[in-house]
Symmetry: C2
Subunit: 367 residues, 2 copies
């Protein structure tokens, strides 16, 4: 293989695909990026067998061929080269030469044919979504997926649930539910669970331009996101996701409307005392015109007041302040609406108008 | 004690003194900041028994007194309070109340009298130095002090050596010497070794304004730096410092003048290959018009060329690339002068004109 490219576009492609390079594998080929020159196209691919990313990069192909190169050293070399023309050449023994100005590197490669192919995702199941919107939906939910060691593998991903003209993105960790939804055209109904890792990497790749679209394709086992020059493929998680609709559909008798920033700052302060008491709960005393937020541990006590507008009866509840703050930080609106039904029931934080996001949090019983 | 202050000036003072709060102590009082109101002045002090910082802060004193407060929780509370007037009150049982707007915290304190006093440093030995210049001298040397576990406690600090109208600041770790000097008025001659930790914290406190001065006072055991509202006191390190003058005074037969950035970038790239071979040396082949920089390990090989102007004979040497890069990164000049005498001798990196800084590096024997 022999190609000529420029540093900045190559570096961008390397930075994109390297997200799918395996960190902990004992298989050296999975620590590699596949470089492939075919016809006029030069592509880079990484694949940890759960997640794969493929990226086309601008280059002049002088000689076709492919070679796998250790991702870490390749990316560090490319990053440090001057902003100039780079020539990459590999010989029959898969020795790779990288030349740029007066710099020249020789590093050993591996056979391109040994690199695992990305799964084929050819399917009639397709949808087109705005990249920036989906990126924000990920950011506003992914913090509440379950940890890898939670014993619930399916909850380490997020549910994509398409029904009734909406796409719902839902994350659940057993203590809270984060849901974002958006309008979507089409009549189809389906559910699938995408691993958190894939969504985390997708979040970093997706464009923040308002008009950029992506195509999503899926089979029963895999999902593929196609953005301009880049394709991300992930396997789907198996197993039954939590029936989140039942929780979010609960009936609530009390609604408190409150300024998001004031509430967030007050909980943040009260949580300082709570943290010193090993994450003890923060207490919310909801009154007619204000919410009194207190925490009390051996480290001391905190007292905070926030003005609210209440519909329904006041009550006293207690929650893990971290879950509350995670939700509030993910919300753009200035005013939020918090729904309660009783002291020991969950609450839901949602928009003051509309229901395009909902954060559901389980309460803590006060001693 | 009862004082009223504003959030931003209190936060700044807390941020300054907290650098001297002990991280690993089992004595709770050393995890505290001493708050003291006396006459019209409000001061904060922290002291880990090796390093102490004292800071005056603007406040209205309503009632004199002192109390010690846990530094971590106090600083986190102050940081999160709104930008408003803060009232701090302590009662006879050393309970502390912090009030600000609708926020109120109660936290337990400790007796102010139990807090260890800073050492007195009254001495005729004084000098006045520009803060910004001394800050830069620290930054340009401190990376080559010895590690705590090096077995040479005195080399974990930097030597301040005043003689012949100069102040020399010198750091040595057994493999390299970093020296910066500046003109100083006065006839006095003295040497003392200041702990690296004290200089690191001083570096963060010193002003970057060109005109700000500080007063330095010292006895045989302690050094005191006085800046505007802040005083930093450190014990000195005992033991004989390395005789650095002998090393820096060696005679050299070859001088190479080279562009600093080109050299740094080239070594940085060659070091990538060296790093994969567990920090093997980088080889410098110094020729009449250029320096050829190569490294060669099982991870591959790198070849770099940099133009130079040579005075004297060319030669081949090898160095630890990290030490070379640390020195080059600390230099502001565009062109540096590198002094050699033979393949197995140290080199010195210094300014193309003048000798206000010198970096001395021991060579590595090539296999």
């Amino acid at each position: 293989m022999n190609i000529i490219c420029n540093k900045s576009s190559l570096l961008k492609s390397v930075g994109t695909v390297i997200r799918a390079v395996s960190q902990k594998t004992t298989m050296p080929i999975l620590q590699c990026i596949l470089l492939k020159a075919e016809g006029n196209s030069f592509t880079l691919t990484a694949n940890d067998l759960e997640l794969g990313i493929h990226c086309a990069s601008d280059a002049v192909v002088k000689k076709e061929g492919s070679v796998a190169v250790n991702a870490k050293i390749f990316s560090e070399i490319i990053r440090r080269l001057p902003d100039d023309e780079i020539i990459i050449d590999s010989d029959d023994q898969d020795n790779i030469t990288i030349s740029c100005g007066k710099s020249k590197f020789n590093i050993p490669g591996q056979k391109g044919n040994d690199f695992p192919l990305l799964p084929e995702v050819q399917s009639e199941n397709q949808m087109v979504l705005p990249q920036n919107e989906f990126r924000q939906m990920i950011q506003k939910t992914i913090f509440s997926i379950a940890q890898e060691d939670s014993g619930r593998p399916v909850l380490t991903g997020e549910l994509i649930d398409v029904r009734d003209g909406y796409l719902y993105l839902v994350a659940v960790d057993g203590f809270r539910i984060s849901m974002q939804r958006t309008d979507i055209s089409g009549e189809k109904t389906f559910k699938m669970t995408v691993p958190g890792k894939a969504l985390n990497e997708l979040n970093k790749i997706l464009s923040s331009e308002e008009d950029d679209l992506m195509t999503v394709m899926f089979t029963g086992r895999h999902i593929l996101f196609k953005m301009d020059q880049t394709v991300l493929v992930s396997r789907l998680l198996e197993g039954e996701f939590l029936n989140y609709e039942r929780n979010l559909g609960m009936s609530f008798t009390t609604r408190a409307y409150v300024n998001k920033k004031e509430l967030l700052d007050s909980i943040d302060r009260a949580a300082l005392i709570s943290k010193e008491g090993k994450n003890s709960p923060v207490r919310f005393d909801i009154r007619q015109d204000r919410m009194i937020i207190t925490s009390n541990t051996e480290a001391g006590s905190a007292y905070e007041e926030v003005a609210i507008r209440l519909e329904g009866e006041g009550m006293v509840t207690a929650f893990n302040p971290k879950y509350y703050m995670d939700a509030l930080r993910a919300i753009d609106d200035d005013t939020v609406c918090i729904l309660y039904s009783s002291s020991l029931s969950p609450c839901i934080i949602q928009g003051a108008q509309g229901e395009n996001y909902k954060y559901f949090i389980l309460p803590i019983r006060l001693n």
